[in-house]
Symmetry: C2
Subunit: 276 residues, 2 copies
């Protein structure tokens, strides 16, 4: 960790009775920076505000938080800025909150030496051994992330870059730390936001880039059958960008021709003209 602030002040610790620790009662954002500036900031702040509304946590002032993120982003050309907002210190013991808590606002900066969209080998993935649970509070980026922690450990033990979480009903949730895209018969598809453990900022950027490029893309329920029949697959998050899957449970997957145009469109925010 490069630096940390709580309530805007340099901090090394948080109160031992914070509800973020006790219940995971809060939200976070993982923001990539480039050239010392936060990328996709509006999307991050928007998702954080929506999450606060869902949990009934007063959202931080956007301009205050944006200044604090900018300060963290300025530490190096490429860092990961992690924002955490919790409901605050517990005013009483127990799950119930009173509504009078003061939210805790944490900003931390972490090394990200490779920066955005570094060249890397296509990902090696497989479906997770344990059935994914129905996403709790699907889409928002809350602090209850044990399922992701354990899935990442499974990936490590199996020598994979990522595992795909599948619900008990056979529906695809996504990667442990990524959203999933697949290509079949001329169309990109990704699970709907209400199936995702997190509706990723990069997932939104891919959908927007596809739209600008005129590539067909949709959000829909996807199953393990769709996964098996996909002609190409990608993982997305702010850190890995749009990362093609090269191997799915031992099956080699070709890197699709849309990969580079999408990556370029995400980087530049530009559309089809650039591809002419």
């Amino acid at each position: 960790m490069l630096a940390a602030w709580a309530q805007g002040e340099p901090a090394e610790s948080i109160p031992i009775d914070d509800r973020g620790l006790h219940y995971g009662d809060g939200l976070f954002e993982t923001i990539g920076t480039s050239g010392g500036r936060a990328r996709f900031l509006a999307a991050h702040l928007g998702r954080l505000a929506r999450g606060c509304a869902v949990l009934g946590i007063p959202a931080p002032d956007e301009s205050v938080l944006a200044r604090e993120i900018a300060r963290a982003a300025a530490l190096a050309p490429h860092v990961i800025v992690k924002v955490i907002v919790t409901r605050g210190r517990a005013l009483a013991r127990g799950y119930a909150f009173t509504g009078a808590e003061t939210p805790t606002r944490i900003v931390t900066a972490w090394p990200w030496p490779e920066g955005p969209l570094a060249a890397r080998d296509p990902a090696r993935v497989a479906t997770a051994g344990r059935a994914g649970s129905t996403p709790l509070l699907a889409g928002i980026k809350h602090l209850n992330r044990l399922e992701q922690v354990l899935a990442c450990e499974e990936a490590r033990q199996r020598g994979l870059d990522e595992v795909i979480l599948v619900g008990r009903d056979g529906g695809i949730i996504g990667g442990a730390m990524t959203n999933l895209f697949m290509y079949h018969d001329g169309q990109l598809a990704t699970p709907r936001a209400d199936r995702c453990a997190v509706a990723g900022v990069m997932r939104g950027q891919v959908l927007a880039a596809a739209s600008r490029l005129g590539f067909a893309a949709c959000e829909r329920d996807l199953t393990v059958r769709d996964l098996a029949g996909a002609q190409a697959l990608w993982l997305t998050n702010v850190r890995v960008g749009l990362w093609p899957i090269g191997n799915l449970a031992g099956r080699e997957c070709a890197v699709h021709a849309w990969t580079q145009p999408l990556q370029r469109a995400i980087e530049t925010g530009a559309g089809g003209a650039r591809l002419a």
Copy 2:
């Protein structure tokens, strides 16, 4: 909060990069005390150790932790001692852990003026409006508790003592902060541990007391139909003990004759002889 310790030392804060805060990557126990001593200590320590094994967190030394719990329990005749064990400080950013983390061991003491099994009116409950998710890591008492936080808020808004969480498949999970027992045709029943959000220590005490008293009791899948057909219902946790439900979604429920014998058997650890 009356007092707090981390790693055995008096503490007011924890490191800002603790994985308990960032991911809910840890476990807790809520222990009632009586006469300055922890109750059901072996059951709490056993569940904590099992949870540590599930999450791959090195379990704290039981004798060290027991001494720390005893110190907190001695603060007043009746307190709630809350133990939290997290995986420790993050050695890198991201969900994945390295296995080299040093677990964080937190003991806090909270007021519990009413003490165990205080006389109280039967509980007013109803089923929760939001479908409960498949319990993540069913049974163990991990720190991912947002669903419980929001369900408790729903109960408060509806003027209820508790809400019952029901899965999308119609299966009963239990109360937001309690386990659920029901009585039908001569038998107690409670959802199986793998359906519970937490396999409660008091739930175990009720099953053991029923066995000692010769009352039929079983763990099985229960549905909203079973709930509707139940002739009596109870909520259990360490704080409320065995709490009869007096009103379920507007339907008055009689307090069953087994209530007092079970409460007495839980308190004394004694069996049928005392009831002769």
